[in-house]
């Protein structure tokens, strides 16, 4: 590829955690390698969709803002997810839309107004050397990302992409009903299963009727919820494979929803599994935010997830 056909964004300020994420790393979990991928699948999918990118093209996941990028050429971009008080050349820029960043202009992210993770897509996706089949950056494992070593962005780095992948029209925006108001308390669909029968009746009632609060101990591995203390007859188990969204309850009775960078196996009893879109929604909650768990049937949850996937993968 000639030099002219490569676009680049230069990192002027890095912020606390900005990482490249594609759809995730699959087929190697038996080696202890986690899934990775976007914590908010919904915003990730829309950011790519706005530019006409294929499903799973690599985007930048920007956690808690603080990032500044300068365009080396005129570039079409798309921004979805959290409102980080972003500005383009000093002017406010709302999420859920595609836009153009002119050569030399700066795109700056402030601090989270609503949500905690923003997704920035470029035409055709960011380039990089896939590690074990994926660009997904997992800092804990030292795998993937722009450098292959699982490092978050630092100042001075250049993120490249192809300028030959011409995007669609500018000002293309996400339909209003698909823009999520992250400030609201979400109801999170959970497919009951696993060891749910080993919890006491009172605990089960509380799990699905009381209000849970998102704890400050929340990252890409998992999100702790605080609320009523849940009791399980079975304190721990032989470790077994853990799916995305599994809600485990350690002996302190406070649930942890396990997300993209979770450990591959674990031995705490579980209530069941949040749907992938419930995980996406939870990943945008700020500490202290209230959430509710809602039990849903497996078939219904699977149909809803497939409708979502078909919208972006057809």
């Amino acid at each position: 590829m000639s030099q002219q056909s490569v676009g680049a964004l230069r990192v002027e300020k890095a912020g606390p955690l900005a990482t490249l994420q594609d759809a995730g790393r699959f087929g190697v979990r038996r080696l202890g390698v986690t899934q990775g991928g976007p914590a908010d699948l919904h915003a990730f999918a829309w950011a790519n969709q706005l530019l006409g990118n294929a499903w799973g093209a690599a985007v930048l996941e920007i956690t808690l803002g603080g990032l500044s990028l300068v365009a080396e050429q005129d570039t079409s971009l798309a921004l979805c997810g959290a409102d980080m008080g972003a500005t383009r050349a000093g002017e406010p820029l709302a999420p859920w839309q595609a836009f153009t960043l002119r050569q030399g202009e700066t795109l700056t992210f402030g601090s989270p107004q609503a949500g905690v993770r923003a997704y920035l897509a470029v035409p055709g996706g960011f380039r990089g050397e896939p590690v074990l089949g994926s660009l997904a950056c997992v800092v804990r494992e030292g795998l993937g990302g722009h450098d292959g070593e699982g490092r978050a962005l630092v100042v001075g780095e250049r993120l490249t992409f192809s300028l030959e992948a011409r995007p669609g029209e500018e000002a293309c925006a996400v339909p209003a009903q698909e823009r999520i108001d992250y400030g609201q308390s979400p109801r999170l669909p959970l497919v009951p299963g696993a060891q749910i029968e080993d919890f006491t009746g009172t605990s089960l009632f509380q799990a699905f009727n009381d209000t849970w609060r998102v704890d400050a101990r929340a990252d890409r591995m998992g999100v702790r919820l605080t609320g009523p203390v849940l009791h399980c007859h079975r304190p721990s188990m032989i470790s077994e494979g853990i799916a995305l969204g599994a809600v485990q309850v350690p002996p302190d009775g406070q649930p942890i929803a396990l997300l993209n960078d979770r450990q591959t196996i674990g031995g705490y009893p579980r209530l069941g599994t949040l749907t992938p879109l419930a995980c996406a929604r939870l990943a945008q909650c700020q500490p202290g935010q209230e959430v509710h768990l809602v039990a849903v049937a497996l078939s219904e949850a699977q149909e809803a997830y497939c409708r979502f996937l078909r919208r972006f993968q057809s």
Binding site: L31, I238, E240, Q263, T264, T273, Y305
Partner: protein, 240 residues
């Protein structure tokens, strides 16, 4: 074997529970189930996570409904036969330098077991272990089962930085840390072997089902093999 149980693990995965207890005899069944799933699901298979008694099967919900995936698993299990050949496991050797500087919990194990240092090392190294699962971190093998005299609960406060290569025990399990990471296991030595290398075929030095032998080496041999002799930081320093 009790009839296998299926447990939903969300919108795109089933957990197949084959056994209730940790046992080497589980391995041929789990490995056979892995292989049969790969054949039967083909491109609809997304990932497999075998562990001591279970297999987590993640499938593509755009290709299979939950009901179809479950029916496919039931069909496989109806005539599943143990795969003794695959489960025979490769024999892997892990050279270990057992020393207080890299294994600060040797003294704790000594005190708890009442064994002499030599007897303790002999009890750990003189046994063949099976890799029951990989997890916690890429290439971290959960190996069993450790001599009951060496069984030791995890540290009350986990270390923030366990050095790469640290060989450790927790309960009746033993392992080696592939890279520096937090961890609460009891450190008893260090191996110079690179346990996970994304540039190597197979990626992980250890694979589920492997038979592992630890081989006692001295400091000179450890250094010759490329080992890092930096001592483990004292607990109070680690917690800073």
């Amino acid at each position: 074997m009790k009839p296998p149980r299926f447990e939903n693990a969300g919108v795109d995965a089933w957990l197949v529970r084959l056994f209730d207890d940790i046992d080497e005899a589980n391995m041929p069944w789990l490995m056979a189930l892995c292989r049969r799933c790969e054949e039967a699901f083909g491109p609809a298979l997304v990932d497999l996570v075998p562990s001591y008694t279970t297999l987590l099967v993640q499938y593509d919900p755009l290709r299979l409904t939950a009901g179809q995936a479950r029916a496919q698993l039931a069909e496989i299990l109806a005539d599943l036969r143990p795969d003794d050949e695959a489960a025979a496991g490769e024999v892997k050797e892990l050279p270990v330098w057992y020393d207080d500087s890299v294994g600060p919990e040797l003294a704790r194990l000594e005190a708890a077991s009442g064994l002499s240092r030599e007897a303790l090392i002999e009890a750990h190294a003189g046994h063949e272990y099976r890799v029951f699962a990989l997890g916690f971190a890429p290439g971290f093998g959960f190996m069993g089962s450790v001599d009951p005299r060496l069984a030791m609960p995890r540290l009350a406060t986990p270390r923030k930085r366990v050095p790469a290569g640290s060989v450790a025990v927790a309960g009746r399990q033993t392992s080696a840390y592939p890279r520096v990471s937090p961890g609460g296991w009891n450190l008893i030595g260090r191996t110079p072997v690179t346990l996970f290398d994304k540039g190597r075929e197979g990626l992980s030095y250890l694979q589920v089902g492997d038979r592992v032998r630890f081989k006692t080496i001295g400091r000179d041999e450890f250094e010759r093999l490329g080992g890092d002799t930096t001592p483990v930081a004292p607990l109070e320093e680690d917690q800073r």
